[in-house]
Every structure is written in C-alpha cells, then in structure tokens.
Amino acid sequence: MPACAADLLQGTLDMLVMRAVADEPLHGYALVQRLKLTSGGRLTVPHGSLYPALHRLENRGMLKAEWRSTATGREAKFYWLTAKGRRHLEREVVAWHELSVAVALVLGTFAPPETR
C-alpha cells in the first residue's frame, strides 16, 4: 500500500524537499513529480502541504528562490539548496539513518503477513 505522505511528519517532509532540490533547482510542481518518481510512486505529497513547507524553509534560509523561465517559456519560482541548507540536510539524513536503525532493531523479526 503506497504510503500516504499526509502521514509524514513536517520535519521529514522538509528533509525530502531539501533532498529533492539538492542536485538542481526545481519549481513546486516539478518537486511533486520528482518525489513521486524517485520514491517509485509510493510517495504522493499533497500539493497543498508542499508550498507551506517550501516557504518555511525559505524563511529559515535553507532554500533560496528565484523566478525563472521554464522550458515551456512560462515563469515559475525555482528553489535550490543553500550552503546552510546543505549542512542542515546532512545532519538530518544522519539522524534519520540512526533513527531507522533503531526502529528496525526494535521491530526485530516481527513480520506482518502482507509484507513480501
């Protein structure tokens, strides 16, 4: 069952958004598509949650934004990661990995029947 990204904690969403724009600048719509693509279709971020997250990150200085032309010629607001944001992302990723190791250890060999 694909994870509904509404279950994502705000911090986790922020981390995913930052990762998505770490390689190249993206606008909001492209971000949604990128997240869906790279998660293999499992992650569909409700479009509405995205923009508050983007603006929040921008206010905190993690992202920087600029209006640019897209391939189709329209103007869109592109976001990319700042140096501060990159450092924050690295810290968050390390913390996330540690958390997932801990959670896996606790869950142990417990295997729900639907899992393959």
Binding site: G28, G48, Y51
Partner: protein, 902 residues
C-alpha cells in the same frame, strides 16, 4: 527576506504566492490534458490535487510567520471601524476611560515627583543631613545649628568630608525694574553647590571664595524658573547687579534647569552666600539663646539658623556619625555643667545623627503623604467602577453581536481567534481612552498643583509626564482594557452557535436568562464601589466644613489684615515709632473702619515667634516654659475681636517706662501658672520675673484652624520699640471688600517703599491654611458624584438591555391581563434586588476600608452611620431613577407586536 521585511511587503508576497500557485495549477492542468482529459476536466482534477486553493494560501500565509501581527492589525482596524459606527457609545466609553486613566496617571505622576523621586544631584544616596535627636523639639529646631559649630565640626572631620550649610527660606525684595519684587531666597555656604554637584547652565555658582568675609560676597545665583519668569531667559542676566533688600548683588550664574532646591516643592528664586546675612537683613527661621540678633549671625555661637548637610557613602555613615557626635557631646557636657540636674539629665540624652535624605527635605511631603494616598485609592476605585461600567455595556453589546460571532465561527474561526479579536477591540478602546487620558492628565496635574497650593501660585513640583509616568499610563491602560474585556471575551469563548442561528439573527430571547446575572453582578459590584466613594465624599466634605466652623477665638470676616515688610524697606529702629503712628492714623482714617492695630505677627499669616518663659513661683517644675509670643498695639484685642475672661487689655499707659505687662491666653495661664486665674502672676524671659499678667484671654487659634489653641503671651508693642511689626489689622464696620482696597491704597500712599502683600480678610487667610483639606473635599466630592453617575448609567444599561431582550415576555404578560403598573413594579423589583445586593456588598467589603482615612478626618468618624445612610440613600434614589425609564418602556410594549415579531 527577514521577518520585518516580510511584514512590510505583504502585498508583494501575496501576489507572488498567487502567481506561484497559478503556475502550479496550470502545469498540472497541462499534464492532465496531455494525458487525454478535456481542458475543464483537467483543470478540475488539478485543483482537487492541490487541495483547496484558498486553504493552501492560508497555510502558506501561516508559514510566513507574520500572521499574528497582521491579525492584530486587522482586528484593530475592525475595532476602530466598529467604534466609528456607534459614535455615541464610543465617545462615552472613551471619555469615561479617559477620566479614570487620566486621573490615575496624574496622581501617580505627582506622587512620584513628591514621594519617590530622588534629588537631581550626583549620587543622591550619599546626601545626609546632620540632625540632633534624642530630646523633644520642634522639627525645624532639631536641624538648626550655628555657624561656629559647623566650623568646629568641619575641623573635626578634616578635608575628606565636606559639610555644607543652608539657611531657611525667606522673602527678600529685589529692585529689578522700578518696583521691588518679592523673591524667595536661601543663603548657602560656599561649599553647598560643590558638595551637591549641581552645575550652572550659565556663568558660575557660589563657591568658597564668595563665603569668606562678612559682607564680602555680594553675589547671587538665580534658579532656572526665576530666570524664565523674571528675565525671560535673557542671557545678559549674568553680570547684572540689582539691589536686594537694599544691597547690590551681582548675578554670577543660573543653576541648571533640573535643580531648584534641596527642599522638594519649595519655590526658590535666588541663592546668596551666608556672609551676606546681616547686609541683606535676613532675619527669619532662627532661634537664639543669649545672642544679639541685630548683629551679624555668622560669627555668633548662640544663633541656630543653619541646616547642615554632608556627603558620605552609606557604608561610612556610622563612623562619621560617631565623630560628629563626639564633638557635639563634648560641647554639650561643657554647656550643661552648671545647669540644674534635671535639665542636665534631659539635655544629655541628645546626640547627633546622620539622616539620609536622597529625596531632600520636604514639609510638603509630610503634609500631603496621607491625602495623596487617600486620593490615589479614590481614583483607583473610580477606575474600577468605570471598568465595571464598560464591562457591563460591552457585555450587552456582545449579546447583540452573537449572530456575527456565530457566523465567523462557522466560517472556520477558532475560539482562540475570536477571543483574540474581542480582546483586541477592548484594548483598542482602552488605548483610545488612554491617549485621551494622557492629555487630560497634563491638565489635571497643573490643576491639582494649583488647587493644593495655599498661595497664589501653583506648587513648584516637576510632575510633568516623563518616561516612568508614561510606562505607568500604558500599563494601567492595558490592565483596564483586559479587565473590562474579560466579560465579553468570556461570552465569545462560550458561543453557542446553534442557539444563535436559531434566533434568526436577532437578539436571543427568553431562554438565555441565565446569562443576565453576569451583567447584574457587574452592576452590583459597581454600586458597592460607588457606595464607598460616595461615603468618602461625605466624610471628607464634612471634615472640611467642621474645620471651617471651628471657633478661632477672634472675628474672621470683619477683620482685614495686611502683611508688611518694614525691615526690607530700610527703616532704622529710631524711625519705627513715628512710622507706626503714621500707619495707625492712615488705617483709622479709612471710612468704614472701627479700629486699627499693629502686631508683630499677623493672625493666620504663617509667621510666629516662640519664646521660653521662666516662672520663679513654680518651684515644682523649674525650667523654661515655651509659649508663642506676639507684640501688639493697645487696640489689638478690640480690633480682632479677642475676648478677655479676666483682667484688662493694654492701654496707652503701658509705655516703655511703665512696668512690663502681658496678656496671656488660658492655655498660657495653665502652662505658666497651672491655673486659669493668672491675673497678677509674674514671669520673665530670664530670672528677674519682671512681667506682670494683667489679663487672661479666651483661647485663640492664631496659626491654623486645625491646631489646638497654643499658649500665647501678648505684650504691648510700646514696651518693645525695636520690633519690626509685620501686620496691620483693621475692623470693618460693614462689608470688608471696600476696606480691603482702601487699606491697600492707604498703605501705598503713607509708606510707598514698604512692600505690602496679602491684603485680605482673616477668613480668607484661614481658608488658605485649609487648602489641603479643601482639595481633598473637592476631589472626593467629585469622585463621589462621578461614581454615582457611573453606577446609574451602568444600571440603566443593564436593565434597559434586559427589558429589550424580554420584550416578548412583557408582551405576553400584558396580553394576559397584567396592568402596566404591574409590569413596571416587576422590573423595579428586580432592579431593587440588584441595588440591595450591591449596597450590602459595599457595606461588607469596601466600606471598612474607609477606616484607613481616619487621620485625615476631623470631627467625624470614618464609619459615620449618618453619612453611610445618606450615601446609600443617594445610590438607591439614583438606581431607582435609572431603572424607572426602562421599566416605563417595558410597560408601553405593544403586546401584539411583541408576540408577533418572531
């Protein structure tokens, strides 16, 4: 973008957001179109995916972090618009608040300036006064000492500690223009200004070089206020010379504007060096023991006229005090070595102490401490009443807005948001009232300082609005706003949506009767507070009237007196008898004058002389007996209307060469001789008891109506020909007004060069002495009236609203056969219950507080039942009247219309 930038660029950010979201929807739409959907269907799907356009915008706005400021700003603008929609109510509310807040701010500012503010000098906590403690004496006397003693103290402590001296205040006459102007002057030692650290804003201040040789320092320093008043801040004043009491003084500088005097609330115009005392003929505020006051005072040991101050860190005080006291006690022991053992034992109890005075001296402070506290409590109560009033009125209005609130809630506003909006409305109203209050406070401060003064000019207290006062004003305003905003906010928090909608947008009917008690509770508490204020008004007004009615022992309304400063005009002792004769002739010649007299100190004029008398016949308790002393012409008793109870008054035969005589009051008879029948008794200023008592007077109050009659000894002026009288009295046969003017003219034409002031009736002078009590009575009366009015308005508002809500119920009653009178009685009965509850609450809770004001009262108890009953009756009457109007309105309801309007 920084937070502040985001706040200020809201519009740009909103456009930006809109653009961004539109792009998103367009991009999504294009993708769906490419997938095969129709344009419209694609757009619909894109919008659904987004999840609610406006919702996303709201969330994005929240992410901006500036939300609460924007909301607050929006609420404030809404509140102002709402206030503009009901201008009558808003104006009344703002005015009520302005009165309450302004009065509180004004009183706080005055209290701060008088009671709390430190002197505007360097390190005020180091300033100490040198004072004699341990034996009873008049307040002023315990500070006063002689110049040689100061020098001995200074020698004992060396150069590390400086001691400075000041004289008391006295009126001197300066010839600046063509006429002599009265100036209040103080003489100071050369170390005074350097010790305090006061700076000159122009020129220089008096220094040690000006105070070295007798008569050798003809300089003066003027204060900023005097510079402005007299010279209009003319910079050329420095270096100008003018005559003061006939002596040419050169102005060497102007003191900095913040500094007036080390006595708070005392007007000072001019400072001069101590060594100029004799030349300036400064002869006031001194006590003399075996010294010649007609010779220069500075070198004399026996004249105590200087107050000493010094600067010492608080930690070093005990050490310095011990050293100073050592010098004092050594001299004291030597002086008392030959004295009577009882006197010696009593005298040796005295010692010197250092009294910290960071806030300076202030007789004003002592006199007004209690009244200020009472008045502060009074205005605080008035503000509480006003807040209760507003809370009730706002509560009634919030009921009417229940529909609007319900609508907002249903559109998604959270209760917290709604409460915030209501509170903002209350705070906005409070702020408007507070701003108005600040304007009122300025005016109120000036008015209060004028009312409280016993002279023609306002008390010179720097009570202008400064940072601390503004802080207080803002704090009180916010507190008031929150206080009266609580009630409607509480209502909104409990908003019952369904019931409000069911009522169809009109005022909810009937079922909400449980809500009324909050409004009635507010009115009851208002009435409780108002009762205290009205009762307080009653006792303070009665105090003032009681004081006015006190028997002074002499005629008040028909006696006109004038104060003279003959010494300042330069008359010598030899010229006095002829002058006195001329003055008396001129006074007697005035049409309408029955008799005239002269006296050393006028009645209720503020000056007095106390002397010690020795009664050899009293061997039971030897020693000096102090009594107030006055020198008068023979017609004095007839002129002022003092009554003899035994013996005779003075006659022309009591001359300089005749045996010395005196007329004493009953109190003096008791003090000197232990009995009222003292005619024939003998006493003296020293061991030869050469004065015989020829008459005993009924007790008089020569100083003020509040003081009990002091022992008084009167002697014939002829037997002390070197005394400079300061008062002339005339008895008017009819109305005193024409006599006042005639007396002024007569004095001016007879002796133009003598400064004359305060030409008025004795009644007027006595009333000026009661300015403090009159101020309190007037203000308390004002508060009481205001409280009564507010309580009535509050009651009217609540009852009126209740009647409006219960229109249908009234209509039903009338339709079922009730008479209009019964409806009126119903409403009145309910109102009476509220009033009665309020009165009971007031008597139980607030009324006992009046006991705190006991010290301010005279002739009436703070819990006087008559005043309480009167206050309660007044409130009852006002309340019934206030409830009557809505009650009559209820009776006139048209039953059919009321029932039909659904």
């Amino acid at each position: 973008m920084s937070w502040l930038a985001r706040l200020l660029n809201r519009r740009a950010l909103e456009l930006d957001l809109d653009r961004e979201l539109r792009f998103h929807v367009d991009a999504a739409t294009d993708d769906y179109v490419r997938a095969g959907l129709s344009r419209d269907e694609a757009r619909r799907r894109a919008l659904i995916d987004l999840g609610g356009y406006e919702r996303v915008k709201e969330d994005a706005r929240d992410a901006r972090g500036t939300r609460w400021v924007e909301d607050w700003w929006a609420d404030t603008r809404y509140a102002l618009r709402a206030m503009a929609r009901s201008p009558g109510f808003s104006a009344a509310a703002a005015l009520t608040l302005a009165l309450g807040l302004g009065a509180n701010t004004a009183l706080w500012s005055i209290s701060d300036a008088l009671m709390r503010r430190a002197l505007p000098i360097d390190r005020p906590d180091e300033l100490h006064a040198i004072r004699m403690v341990g034996i009873e004496s008049e307040d002023d006397e315990s500070y006063r000492t002689s110049h040689p003693f100061m020098q001995r103290l200074q020698a004992a402590v060396g150069d590390s500690v400086r001691i400075a001296a000041t004289s008391g205040f006295s009126r001197l006459y300066a010839t600046i223009g063509d006429r002599p102007e009265a100036v209040i002057a103080q003489l100071v030692s050369g170390s005074f200004f350097p010790l305090l650290g006061v700076r000159a804003q122009r020129g220089r201040l008096i220094g040690p070089d000006d105070d070295r040789t007798l008569g050798g320092g003809p300089v003066a320093v003027i204060t900023d206020a005097f510079w402005e008043r007299q010279f209009g801040r003319d910079p050329s004043v420095v270096g100008r010379t003018f005559r003061v009491n006939g002596v040419p003084l050169t102005v060497v500088g102007v003191a900095e504007p913040e500094f007036t005097s080390i006595t708070v609330g005392q007007q000072v115009d001019l400072y001069a060096p101590l060594v100029m005392q004799h030349e300036l003929r400064y002869m006031a505020n001194a006590s003399s023991t075996g010294a010649d006051m007609k010779k220069p005072w500075v070198p004399q040991n026996g004249i105590a006229w200087l107050t000493l101050v010094t600067r010492v860190a608080p930690a070093a005080v005990p050490q310095l005090a011990a050293r100073l006291d050592g010098v004092f006690r050594a001299e004291l022991a030597e002086r008392l070595a030959d004295a009577d053992p009882a006197v010696r034992a009593r005298g040796l109890r005295a010692h010197l102490a250092l009294e910290p005075m960071p806030r300076g001296f202030s007789p004003l402070r002592a006199a007004f401490a209690d009244p200020l506290r009472a008045l502060t409590a009074g205005v605080a109560l008035v503000l509480l009443v006003a807040c209760a009033n507003l809370a009730g009125l706002l509560l009634a209005r919030s009921e009417a807005r229940a529909h609007e609130i319900a609508l907002r809630a249903s559109l998604g506003a959270r209760p917290g948001r709604l409460v915030r909006q209501v509170v903002t409305e209350s705070l906005t109203l409070a702020m408007v009232g507070g701003a108005l209050g600040l304007v009122l406070a300025q005016w109120a401060i000036r008015a209060l300082l004028k009312l409280a003064s016993s002279g023609p000019r306002a008390i010179p207290l720097d009570a202008a609005l400064d940072g601390r006062t503004l802080l207080f004003a803002v704090g009180v305003t916010l507190a008031a706003g929150l206080l009266f905003g609580l009630a409607p906010a509480a209502r909104v928090a409990r908003a019952d949506l369904y019931a409000s909608f069911k009522a169809g947008g009109r005022v909810a009917s009937g079922a909400g009767s449980h809500r009324v008690p909050l409004g009635r509770a507010l009115v009851a508490s208002q009435i409780a507070l108002s009762l205290t204020l009205v009762a307080a008004a009653g006792v303070f007004v009665r105090t003032f009237r009681n004081l006015l009615a006190v028997d002074a022992g002499y005629a008040r309304e028909t006696v006109v007196a004038a104060r003279l400063d003959i010494r300042a005009a330069g008359y010598t002792y030899e010229q006095l008898p002829a002058l006195y004769a001329r003055l008396l002739d001129a006074a007697r010649a005035i049409p309408g004058v029955q008799s005239a007299s002269l006296s050393l100190h006028g009645l209720a004029a503020g000056g007095r002389r106390t002397s010690g008398f020795v009664v050899p016949a009293r061997t039971d308790s030897p020693g000096e007996r102090p009594a107030q002393e006055n020198f008068v012409t023979p017609d004095y008793f007839r002129t002022v209307g003092m009554t003899l109870v035994s013996g005779r008054a003075f006659t022309e035969r009591d001359t300089k060469d005749a045996p010395k005589v005196a007329v004493i009051t009953q109190a003096a008879a008791r003090r000197l001789f232990g009995t009222d029948s003292a005619v024939g008794g003998r006493f003296g200023y020293d061991t030869p008891a050469d004065v015989e008592v020829v008459g005993v007077l009924r007790d008089v109050r020569p100083n003020s109506l509040r003081e009990p009659p002091p022992p008084m000894v009167l002697r014939p002026l002829a037997q002390a020909p070197q005394e400079y009288v300061t008062s002339v009295e005339v008895r008017a046969a009819g109305s005193p007004e024409p006599v006042i003017k005639a007396l002024s003219n007569a004095l001016a034409s007879t002796a133009r060069e003598i400064p004359v002031r305060d030409v008025t009736t004795l009644e007027d002078l006595l009333q000026r002495g009661l300015s403090r009590e009159r101020l309190v009575a007037r203000l308390a009366g004002g508060f009481g009236a205001l409280a009564l009015l507010l309580a009535a308005i509050g009651l009217y508002g609540v009852i009126s609203y209740s009647v409006t809500r219960r229109r249908r119920e009234m209509g039903v009653r009338l339709a079922l056969g009730a008479s209009p009178g019964q409806v009126v009685r119903l409403v009145l009965r309910e109102s009476l219950a509220t009033i009665a509850a309020g009165l009971a609450l007031g008597i139980a809770l607030w009324f006992p507080l009046l006991g705190l004001a006991r010290r301010l009262l005279y002739g009436v108890s703070p819990h006087d039942p008559g005043t309480l009953a009167g206050g309660a009756a007044a409130l009852l009457a006002a309340g019934v009247l206030a409830a009557l109007l809505p009650a009559l309105r209820a009776a006139r309801v048209d039953p059919i219309e009321a029932i039909r309007a659904e």
